[in-house]
């Protein structure tokens, strides 16, 4: 076997392994909350995640992949010795894999994106010389790492504020949800359709037809959601509507007897009995109005149930966004190796679709072999994130990541969703937040990038020793 063949196989194996890793660990960010709120069963969540991750990777993954393939390190510099470039990209993949294993062993919140970018920049600057790195792109990527959690936080904050004002603060949260739900569904569908048609070159499809098609899809979704939510009522209502007037009379006489009993009481007992009488008043009132208001508010529970359905759509969007951004971490360097070896022009024309398909498959297999466990664990433990909160966090996060994908910026999904959850927390949606995670993430930035770079250089010389 020639060296080239070995390198080819090595590139595919390492790229596939990186994709497997992404599927195994990161997909939980998108689906965990929906499983936790019981809007989705684990099996359905895994199937949906697989479909949308794959779609995101194949339909929208090429921008970021191109950035990693040829946007950071200029392959032209290595034209004299393509093997240097091949070894470097292989070293970057290997370094990322090693660093991620080490970090997850130590429990550090590191990001695949940060380590692969660190590794590529490291090998480029040291092996190829400082001038071989596109520092402009690197600076833009660095800025996008700061901006993405902030934008995620901002978007989720605004979304949850919107839900607060227009749902929770309304006299009837359920009716308000019915009004607002179709538009939120429409928003999700619009974003999803816009981003999945963004790069697909249909025959003769101009930008206008794509936008038109997406708007039409969103409109259909709005109408469908409108008719679906119109049918929903508080389940108890139906039973109570056929209220017997004799029942009301009985309740009234019971109240009279309690009022008699109250005369002989004082203090705590007086307070409690008075409370019971008030409850009975409320109950009788509710019977008349066909609505229960005693104790826990069943309306809020139903609102959350509705948001549970909405959250499924935002989780799918999140899986799509994640696939579109993170598949590049595995496939970008792999494609760089392959195109250098096969002497196809690098960075020109479209990104090879089969590489994206391979990456998508890797993510799905990672999800099927290990990822479902992580989704299960995350789902069981995130009880703080009710569907309305989860929807706000996921939609805000997905918008940010899709924006980054369209500009070709590799950003960290984990950091963005952490930003988004904090955004919901700032809008008083979560009882308490632990800001230690933010500190850990900031610290890990300062460790991951140099660690990725140094490991990549070490791996480069190791590979150079072998071949």
């Amino acid at each position: 076997m020639s060296t080239e063949q070995i390198f080819l196989i090595l590139a595919c194996v390492l790229g596939f392994y990186a994709a497997w890793n992404i599927g195994a660990n990161d997909v939980a960010n998108a689906m965990g909350t929906s499983v936790g709120s019981k809007a989705l069963t684990l099996r359905r969540a895994v199937v949906l995640a697989a479909i949308f991750e794959f779609a995101g990777a194949v339909l929208f993954g090429s921008n970021v992949s191109e950035t990693l393939q040829s946007g950071i390190v200029n392959p032209v510099i290595f034209d004299t010795d393509p093997f240097m470039f091949v070894r470097g990209m292989l070293a970057a993949l290997l370094a990322t894999g090693l660093w991620l294993q080490f970090a997850s062993y130590c429990g550090l919140p590191v990001s695949t994106t940060h380590s692969i970018v660190g590794a590529i920049v490291g090998f480029g600057a040291i092996i190829g010389g400082v001038h071989s790195v596109h520092w402009n792109t690197v600076i833009y990527i660095g800025m996008s790492w700061i901006a993405s959690p902030l934008l995620g936080a901002g978007a989720s904050f605004l979304l949850f504020q919107l839900i607060r004002r227009h749902v929770f603060y309304q006299p009837s949260p359920l009716e308000a949800t019915k009004k607002i739900l179709p538009f939120l569904v429409g928003g999700v569908v619009l974003v999803l359709m816009l981003s999945s048609t963004y790069q697909v070159t249909l025959r003769g499809a101009s930008a206008m037809t794509k936008v038109g098609l997406s708007c039409a899809g969103a409109l259909v979704a709005i109408i469908a959601a409108h008719y679906y939510s119109k049918r929903l009522h508080i389940p108890i209502t139906e039973e109570v509507r056929a209220v017997d007037p004799r029942l009301l009379a009985e309740i009234h006489s019971a109240k009279m007897s309690l009022e008699m009993a109250r005369k002989n009481l004082a203090g705590e007992q007086f307070y409690h009995l008075e409370d019971i009488i008030k409850d009975i008043d409320g109950f009788a009132d509710a019977l008349g109005k066909s609505r229960f208001t005693n104790g826990k508010n069943p309306e809020l529970a139903l609102v959350e149930q509705l948001f549970g359905y909405l959250q499924i759509s935002s989780a799918c969007l999140m899986a799509f966004a994640h696939g579109s951004n993170d598949v590049a971490n595995a496939i970008g360097p792999m494609a760089a190796v392959i195109s250098a070896l096969l002497h196809t022009p690098i960075g020109l024309g479209g990104f090879p679709i089969w590489a994206l398909v391979l990456g998508g498959l890797g993510i799905i297999i990672g999800l099927a072999t290990w990822g479902w466990r992580v989704i299960d664990t995350v789902g069981k433990h995130i009880t703080e994130l009710t569907p309305s909160r989860g929807f706000s966090a996921e939609f805000g996060c997905a918008l940010t990541i899709l924006g980054a994908s369209s500009f070709g910026f590799p950003v960290s999904t984990t950091h963005t969703i952490v930003g988004s959850v904090l955004g919901v927390g700032f809008a008083r949606g979560i009882s308490s937040l632990n800001l230690r995670v933010v500190r850990d993430i900031l610290l890990s930035w300062f460790v991951t990038i140099p660690a990725g770079a140094i490991l990549a250089i070490v791996c480069y010389y190791l590979i150079a020793l072998i071949a």
Partner: protein, 224 residues
């Protein structure tokens, strides 16, 4: 990535409600305590006072536990200072219950017919105010669900107003109680007079603190 799981701090409301339950245990012993005084059963009264003291200690332990586990990095959905004030007000309610036990067991006292009935009315009104604020604290979970606004918040606001009204009623009763008490001032020694005065103040503090606590919760609401 499991890091997202570490993002959530422990909800502070459940422990606060747990502390409230212990405070309720203390305050619930007050009526039996004064009934024992009425029956002049001083041995049982001393036992009751010790029991309240033990209950107050249990509440103190919970309170310290909450304070120890509310780290500085916790980002709460309500103001941290406000939360700690709620906790300390709950604590002072338990303290007042303990104080009353101690005041009654210090020396043998007895009710005078001149003010006994109105004293019990006064005590009951204070306990009612306390149970009103107890319900408010128990509603904090529902408030979080609706993120401190809307119909839930309106409901809690009405409950706060109810507690404030009971506190006012307690104040009116206290004035009447003092009037009745002064009619009997010649029948009692200075020491007894001073002791009763202190007991009245401590009982009256129950509704005052309850009102403050209710207003603390009121401050967390997102309604004007």
């Amino acid at each position: 990535m499991l890091h997202i799981l570490n993002l959530f701090g422990r909800s502070p409301f459940a422990p606060l409600q747990g502390h409230m339950e212990k405070v309720v245990d203390c305050v619930n012993e007050l009526e039996p305590l004064f009934l024992l005084l009425k029956q002049k059963d001083y041995t049982l009264l001393n036992e009751k006072a010790e029991k309240i003291s033990a209950l107050e200690h249990a509440a103190d332990l919970t309170k310290n536990d909450i304070r120890n586990h509310l780290p500085g990095s916790l980002f709460l959905s309500i103001d941290r200072g406000n939360f700690l004030e709620m906790l300390s007000l709950q604590d002072s309610l338990a303290d007042r219950a303990e104080d009353l036990g101690i005041l009654l067991s210090m020396r043998k006292m007895e009710f005078l017919p001149a003010f006994e009935p109105i004293f019990f009315q006064f005590l009951h009104k204070n306990i009612e105010a306390f149970h009103g604020v107890k319900k408010i604290i128990y509603a904090l979970g529902e408030l979080l669900e609706s993120s401190f606004g809307g119909a839930e918040a309106e409901k809690v606001k009405a409950m706060v107003e109810d507690v404030a009204f009971r506190e006012h009623e307690a104040d009116v009763l206290q004035a009447e109680l003092l009037k009745a008490f002064f009619t009997a001032e010649n029948q009692i020694s200075f020491g007894t007079f001073y002791q009763w005065e202190k007991i009245f103040k401590t009982v009256g503090a129950l509704s005052n603190i309850s009102e403050k606590l209710a207003n603390c919760v009121r401050m967390t609401l997102d309604i004007k």
